[in-house]
């Protein structure tokens, strides 16, 4: 593992609980260096939800896994993930998660304790051979100073909080006895049972029915408010983003291409990719228009040419302008960053 720790003054503004700076996750493959996450930066504010949106292969899930340090061990990491430790006895100490030794006690304390994660496929996220109760209490026993009996009580309380009927009985049931929605609730119960300061939700509703999706989103929102947890919500679904996020980072090919608050994203998107994404959502307002799609697919980020990573699929791309140098994330205003050299020209073109 190649850890490139840049020294900083390790200061975070008071309401920021997690700051990701220039995060890189590379894989050295035979075909070349795969830059799956390339210089991602964002910050997460206390009690707020940051949405990360992008297509498959945009590096959104991998960014989250890098924060948790659960990427495959041969991944080369770079940049900083500054975390304000907020659990008991940690006194807002700031640690760089990327600098911690993998599997060190402090890293394990952060995983599940400080930052909890819920996953896309609740069907597969629980081990089939242990009861729900066993797996939920395991997290509690790891991160709190309680005995088995107390852990069971906390676990059952947690299951109740996420709206599971008959939690005492569910505690002794196996994952395959629950429906997908119930399993995702159990997953959320497990993640929140240790009262983490940050919850990372990696496409938690993608595998669920629409009605169950809405319930789970509502549940995450309620719990976020009652526990004052900050949430990183990863999804490819802009409709979900609109419902849950305060701020949004749009990712494309391992980079953040647009970073702003949720209102600006929907009403005044600047990056051609974001615009195209929004146009590809079906809408009842303009039902006679043909639904737009973005041509092509996300390329593999190996040996990419210089210039904008969206160049090959962008309808505003200009040869010699967009494919000359790597494009930097530029601030449009205080709350709006975009990674496009032509954003102002495109604005004028309309």
């Amino acid at each position: 593992m190649n850890i490139d720790v840049t020294t900083t003054n390790n200061q975070l503004t008071s309401d920021i609980v997690l700051q990701v700076k220039d995060l890189k996750t590379h894989f050295d493959l035979e075909e070349g260096l795969l830059k799956a996450v390339e210089g991602v930066s964002f910050s997460l504010r206390q009690g707020k939800t940051l949405g990360i949106v992008g297509e498959s292969g945009s590096g959104k899930s991998l960014s989250a896994q890098t924060i948790m340090r659960i990427v495959p061990p041969h991944a080369k990491l770079g940049g900083e993930v500054l975390l304000k430790r907020r659990r008991k006895g940690k006194d807002d100490k700031i640690v760089n998660v990327i600098g911690l030794p993998l599997n060190s006690p402090e890293m394990r304390d952060i995983r599940g304790g400080e930052i909890a994660m819920i996953f896309q496929e609740p069907m597969k996220a629980f081990s089939p051979i242990y009861t729900i109760g066993n797996q939920v209490s395991e997290a509690i026993l790891l991160h709190s100073n309680v005995n088995k009996e107390e852990a069971k009580k906390i676990a059952i309380e947690s299951l109740r909080k996420v709206g599971m009927s008959n939690p005492e009985q569910r505690f002794d049931e196996y994952p395959h006895q629950l429906s997908g929605g119930m399993r995702q609730r159990a997953m959320i119960a497990m993640a929140l049972s240790c009262k983490p300061s940050i919850l990372i939700a990696d496409e938690p509703t993608t595998a669920l029915d629409v009605t169950v999706q809405a319930q789970v989103l509502q549940l995450i929102n309620e719990l976020k408010d009652s526990l004052n947890t900050s949430v990183i919500f990863i999804t490819h679904d802009l409709g979900v983003i609109a419902e849950i996020a305060d701020e949004v980072a749009v990712m494309y090919l391992g980079e953040v291409v647009e970073y702003t608050d949720v209102d600006t994203l929907f009403h005044n998107p600047l990056h051609p990719y974001t615009k195209a994404l929004l146009k590809s959502i079906p809408s009842t307002a303009n039902r006679h228009e043909k639904l737009e799609s973005i041509k092509g697919t996300v390329p593999t980020p190996i040996n990419l040419p210089e210039g904008c990573r969206f160049y090959t699929r962008c309808k505003y791309a200009v040869d010699g302008v967009c494919n000359d140098n790597d494009i930097q994330l530029t601030s449009v205003n205080e709350k709006h960053d975009v990674r496009c050299v032509r954003w102002d020209e495109i604005e004028e073109e309309g």
């Binding site: 599997n103 597969k124 629980f126 997290a139 395959h176």
Partner: protein, 333 residues
């Protein structure tokens, strides 16, 4: 729940064993002629004339001229009501007596082999999977393939030869000459111990190699699973995580193969036993088949079949106990 499952499986055994016993009896009746014809031709080869009336007397005594189902019925009746497997023509003694003399040692060697296989293969398989493509993994993959490719009896011969040429000790047989034919004593037991490792290692090599491959492959599969990542994201330490989650699932094939391991306890490794001159049941089964020693062969086949069925039952019960999805008849999405 588990008890109901076991009871249901036990009930299923009855018709299964019935069919198996008919098949066994049918198979041992299949070759042309019977033990008497082999016996007579042997005697005639040796220059001893056998009178027709003596042959007919023997046939009557063993009921060899009666129709198939009559013979079968009396065979099964004796087994069920008297525990009598019939008489061995060749050994001129009850089958149960002939077999029981050898079955203890056979089972000892077989169980030690099983333990040896698991004790060696599991740690290596787990380590190979966790450190996939490491030097360790490559070395044991190489050794494993060699172990799979070389027939066991050849390994036995090589070891025998190597030990004999370097130390002058002959490792064949389980006992020193002075103890052969003696009743069991502590001294005989002590004499056996240093000779026991060879058959155990030789018989265990191939299955150890195979089990290393199976464990490694299963574990590699399980290590990729989402539930492993979930557990890691919970903050579970790597070591605890490995043994609590993926290893528990990866040993399933090991448990489900107990069913096939049990019958080899009695019948398997015949060639190795012959090469090493071991007093086990394997060579005896071979001889019984050669000489059409009908009831002895039938007894063996029946015991092997019953052991297979029981082994499968044990496997199923263990699996049900280990994996709740089987116990509850759950469906995997």
């Amino acid at each position: 729940m588990l008890l109901k499952f076991i009871g249901y499986r036990l009930l299923q055994l009855i018709p299964l064993l019935f069919v198996v016993s008919i098949l066994v009896f049918f198979v041992i009746q299949l070759p042309p002629g019977d033990f008497i014809t082999t016996y007579v031709s042997e005697l005639e080869n040796a220059g001893i004339a056998v009178s027709e009336s003596h042959i007919q007397h023997l046939r009557d005594r063993y009921g060899l001229d009666q129709p198939f189902f009559v013979q079968y019925a009396s065979w099964v009746q004796n087994i069920i009501f008297h525990g009598d497997l019939g008489r061995s023509f060749n050994w001129a003694a009850p089958v149960s007596e002939v077999i029981s003399g050898r079955i203890g040692i056979t089972m000892l060697i077989a169980s030690l082999t099983l333990l040896f296989t698991w004790a060696v293969a599991l740690p290596i398989g787990i380590f190979s999977a966790v450190r996939q493509y490491s030097v360790f993994d490559y070395i044991f993959t190489f050794i494993g393939f060699i172990g799979l490719a070389i027939p066991n009896f050849l390994i036995a011969l090589i070891i025998l030869f190597a030990v004999f040429t370097t130390t002058g000790v002959s490792l064949t047989g389980l006992f020193s000459p002075e103890f052969i034919g003696e009743p069991w004593s502590f001294a005989k037991f002590l004499d056996m111990l240093p000779r026991l490792w060879l058959p155990v290692v030789v018989v265990g090599t191939a299955s150890t190699a195979a089990l290393i491959r199976v464990t490694r492959a299963m574990l590699l599969d399980e290590l990729q699973k989402q539930y492993v990542i979930t557990a890691r994201a919970k903050g579970v330490s790597e070591k605890k995580l490995l043994f609590k989650y993926p290893v528990r699932v990866a040993i399933n094939p090991l448990i489900s193969t107990i069913g096939w391991t049990l019958p080899t306890i009695i019948g398997g490794e015949i060639i190795v036993s012959i090469v090493l001159n071991l007093p086990t049941t394997g060579p005896m089964l071979l001889r019984a088949l050669e000489f059409q020693d009908m009831y002895l062969a039938g007894g063996f086949l029946l015991i092997i079949s019953v052991l297979t069925v029981i082994g499968t039952l044990i496997s199923d019960i263990l699996l049900a106990w280990l994996d709740p999805r089987i116990r509850f008849g759950g469906v995997e999405e």
